[in-house]
């Protein structure tokens, strides 16, 4: 009986809100005035101490954006966003830029501690085995507050810093690659991001270097009425390897907040990039109030031969997700991978998937997408696989499975398969089903309660993807999945 009582308590406890990152950090910030115009763009640029070419780039993007219209093709439904009612820049007030961790506001360090992200290097060095070390770039609202392990990375020749710093210190790299994967006028949100992006991470791995540790960025939205627009640029030079992790959270607020990021990956000859995301922005409360609008453009370019880009994502947060991490397989023999778990509960809406554009010869791609919908949520997989005329021997395998929990949610699959080459072989498979009574009975007969049974079955359902995650993330992701689904049965 004790176990039963425990379950009841557990369910009660999570009944209303199970989002545990919903706290607000009370910190003084510096905000740009609401609204968006050329002055604001110039303000952001000036705040970042940017060279003139960068300002012009932003202004060009802003002018393009003015002529664009919000896309409406995704299967998501939300009130029109008032782009004038947002702060496009928010930064924790600080004395000078932090030179070392000691100078970072303790309030912020505390926030990251609460989130379970130790920023202090000593702590990590003391507590964790060296091979499990992760270098972290933490982004708080619009600015990067701390980057750890910089020196050690520099020894290997790896550049890992906030992008605003890279613009000042490595302009030749930034100018060469920024916007080369996601062009300025790519889409409405990417263009908006190009105009107003405030910070994000920049990574450059020199030729032949295997990045000595996992790199990670942690994004946190804190201020109300702000939009977060970060920009990530990762360049893996010839024969290098990097694994990059990204995590996100935000406080619980009643209004919706906008997050429009752009991530660009460039893999040169024989290089490999592994990009993993655990997206856990605030999804809104039980009635669908509040939550983050997550409109993200992520794209990787396998620019030269034998390169490989692999996307892994666990999407559990955000009120609305609109996100299609893609691979352009330009180099011969290049490979693209997309592994995704998208879980929607409550009133969440997800429209996510990938694009695999086969341009080079002997390119291959693999898509494994697992969608789970519960509550009254809508979960859409939208993906495109295309082979160009010259993409001989292109190969794709796509599998997208959806699992429905409860009878008020929806699961949708919208694949676009375009082949212009007879030697290209594309296979696509999709299934939709619910957890079968047999599976539930099997688990229950072995003494598991409803929630445990569902968690076990779901974990089996998403196993293919979890296996692709780096170890630290796999544990977190598994926990997140069970939290996200709590309260969805019974």
């Amino acid at each position: 009986m004790a176990a039963v009582q425990e379950t009841i308590d557990q369910v009660k406890a999570i009944d209303v809100d199970q989002y545990k990152y919903g706290f607000v950090t009370d910190i003084e910030s510096e905000l740009a005035p609401k609204g968006l115009n050329e002055d604001i763009v110039a303000y952001i640029s000036a705040k970042k101490d940017e060279p003139e070419w960068m300002l012009n780039w932003r202004l060009e993007a802003f002018r393009r954006w003015k002529t664009m219209e919000e896309p409406t093709w995704a299967r998501v439904d939300y009130p029109k966003i008032d782009f004038e009612d947002l702060h496009y820049y928010a930064a924790p007030k600080k004395r000078e830029g932090p030179k070392s961790l000691d100078e970072v506001d303790p309030e912020i360090l505390d926030t990251y501690k609460k989130l379970g992200i130790p920023l202090s290097e000593q702590e990590i060095l003391a507590g964790v085995a060296p091979e499990n070390r992760v270098a972290v770039d933490a982004v708080f609202d619009s600015v990067s507050v701390a980057t750890t392990f910089k020196e050690e990375l520099a020894k290997a020749g790896v550049i890992f810093c906030p992008i605003s710093e890279a613009i000042r210190e490595h302009p030749e790299l930034v100018q060469k690659y920024l916007g080369s994967v996601v062009p300025v006028s790519d889409n409405f949100y990417a263009t908006l991001n190009s105009a107003v992006f405030s910070d994000g991470s920049f990574v450059y791995i020199p030729p032949g270097v295997r990045c000595p540790m996992e790199l990670s960025t942690y994004f946190r939205i804190n201020e109300p009425n702000t939009g977060q627009f970060e920009r990530t640029l990762i360049i893996a030079d010839k024969g290098s390897y990097v694994s990059y992790l990204e995590g996100c959270t935000a406080p619980q607020r009643d209004e919706n907040q906008l997050h429009a990021a752009v991530v660009e990956l460039v893999a040169l000859e024989d290089a490999q990039i592994k990009y993993s995301t655990v997206q856990n922005w605030y999804p809104g409360d039980a009635d669908g109030k509040g939550g983050i609008y997550n409109f993200v453009t992520k794209r990787g370019d396998c620019r030269e031969k034998n390169s490989k880009i692999s996307w892994t994502q666990v999407e559990t947060g955000s009120a609305i997700t609109w996100k299609y991490p893609s691979c352009i397989l330009r180099g011969d023999n290049s490979q693209g991978e997309f592994y995704s778990i998208a879980i929607s509960n409550g009133h969440q809406q997800i429209d996510s998937g990938t694009k695999m554009i086969h341009l080079g010869k002997n390119t291959s791609s693999r898509i494994i997408s697992k969608g789970i919908s519960a509550g009254v949520s809508q979960n859409t997989y939208r993906g495109q696989v295309s082979a160009h005329r010259k993409a001989s021997n292109a190969r794709n395998f796509t599998q997208c499975d959806s699992l429905l929990i409860g009878d008020k949610c929806g699961a949708h699959t919208v694949p676009y398969i375009e082949s212009k080459n007879s030697t290209a072989v594309f296979e696509h498979e999709a299934t939709t089903s619910k957890i079968s009574d047999d599976q539930m009975f099997y688990c229950q007969a072995r003494g598991l309660d409803d929630e445990e049974a569902v968690a076990l079955i779901v974990n089996g359902f998403v196993r293919d993807v979890i296996q692709q995650l780096p170890m630290e993330f796999a544990v977190e992701a598994q926990k997140l999945i069970s939290i996200s689904l709590e309260g969805s049965v019974g």
Binding site: R389, L404, Y416, F426
Partner: protein, 427 residues
């Protein structure tokens, strides 16, 4: 992405404008109001183009350079009609959009009533798609076919649609009502003067009563230069067995749109087809299958062979409404690309709002399997012939599933002819 520029009227749209105005000016025109409404619906959208999601892969606006003049009434010689290729049948002939009793069977058939109409129907679909609206604005004639309840019609009912003349267009509409418990086979063929350039737009509504068993074979063997657009609105009652098959061989541009509503429990709908494309042909099959009630089953299996510079498009959408628990829907698209310039675009969609369902879709695209080819050539079969054997096998799988013997034979003969398979064997 950019602000929508005011779209200019194309030459085809201007021609259609003139045609409609001339048509409506005729004092004798029936149902002028309804035609006007349909025309307004068409005008609001214009000829569909690639920015319209449903027409993304078939950009009619660029492909339809002009709208040909409405075809006049005429009666061609009976021997130009092919129909079901000599199968004993009850024939209904429609020439240039109008019912042609001279070419149709004249004896009575128990349980079947055929009446000529002016073609204007009241249909919810009319405003859904621009090309249906256009059909309803310009429709030249139509027929209504009624099959009585519990009628078991042995002979296939053959509907031959013939467009006579070049540089003309024909618009026809058909209403088919099949009574409860009836059992019937339709063989519908779309054909025209060999090598002639013409446009045909047909709109057919089929309502099937409870427990009926209906097989419907569509043979699209239009002239290789023709543009063919056909829309089917299908409504199925409870415990119906409805089997539809498309054989796509003709037209430079063809599009078949099927809107299928499963409205009664325990119904089975099978939608199948094969497309054989060469030269610069463009063939589009677009499906919407809506499961509105529980315990229905639908199968969507299509196979395509694309050669030369041809292009195949498949768009399929299975919708499962919240009430439609225990739905079983399977969609499978298989395509063979035989040439480097050939192209296939597939978009098999699932839209599911009920949880207790089994739905799946699959799609494969590729060339003939090298291993299979090697197996045959290693046994002394010349490569060209081995390829044909494999293509034939690929298509036969789909044909056999139609489960209507008379049609399977006919379809296999047509496929072999297209492949020139018989010539190879005798060489």
């Amino acid at each position: 992405m950019n602000a929508p520029a005011k779209i200019q009227e194309t030459k085809a749209e201007q021609s259609l404008d003139a045609q409609f105005n001339a048509l409506i000016a005729e004092k004798t025109q029936t149902n002028a109001n309804q035609r006007k409404q349909a025309w307004d619906a068409f005008k609001a959208k214009g000829i569909p183009h690639r920015r319209v999601e449903e027409w993304h892969y078939t950009d009619l606006r660029t492909k339809m350079r002009d709208a040909f003049a409405l075809a006049p009434t005429c009666v061609p010689k009976a021997d130009v009609l092919q129909g079901a290729g000599g199968l004993e049948s009850y024939r209904i002939a429609i020439v240039n959009g109008r019912f042609a009793p001279e070419l149709s069977s004249n004896q009575e058939l128990d349980g079947l009533t055929v009446t000529a109409t002016d073609g204007v129907v009241s249909s919810e679909l009319a405003s859904k798609d621009a090309m249906i609206s256009l059909n309803q604005a310009l429709v030249q004639g139509g027929i209504s076919i009624e099959v009585a309840a519990n009628a078991k019609i042995e002979k296939p009912i053959e509907i031959v649609r013939y467009t006579d003349g070049a540089d003309v267009s024909s618009y026809a509409s058909t209403c088919v009502e099949i009574g409860a418990g009836a059992n019937v086979l339709f063989i519908e063929s779309f054909e025209g003067e060999n090598g002639a350039d013409y446009q045909s737009n047909a709109f057919t509504e089929i309502k099937v009563g409870d427990e009926a068993d209906v097989h419907w074979l569509k043979l699209q063997v239009e002239s290789q230069k023709a543009q063919h657009i056909e829309t089917l609105g299908i409504e199925l009652g409870a415990k119906v067995n409805f089997q539809h098959f498309i054989y796509n061989e003709g037209s430079s541009l063809s599009r078949a749109q099927l809107f299928v509503e499963l409205k009664g429990e325990g119904t089975h709908a099978g939608l199948r087809g094969i497309s054989l494309l060469q030269d610069q042909q463009h063939a589009d099959i677009t499906l919407y299958v809506n499961h509105a009630v529980p315990e229905c089953e639908s199968r969507e299996y299509y196979r395509t062979v694309v050669d030369d510079k041809a292009r195949a498009v498949f768009q399929g959408k299975i919708i499962v409404e919240p009430a439609a628990q225990k739905t079983d829907g399977q969609m499978m698209i298989k395509s063979l690309l035989l040439s480097d310039a050939a192209e296939i675009n597939a978009k098999p969609e699932l839209e599911i709002f009920a949880d207790d369902v089994q739905c799946a879709h699959g799609s494969t695209t590729g060339d003939i399997d090298e291993d299979l080819l090697f197996y045959l050539t290693a046994r002394g079969i010349p490569e060209a012939q081995a390829r044909k054997i494999l293509i034939l096998a690929f298509l036969s799988e789909a044909v056999e599933e139609f489960e209507e013997e008379r049609c399977v034979e006919l379809l296999e003969a047509m496929t072999r002819k297209w492949l020139h398979a018989d010539e190879m064997v005798s060489e």
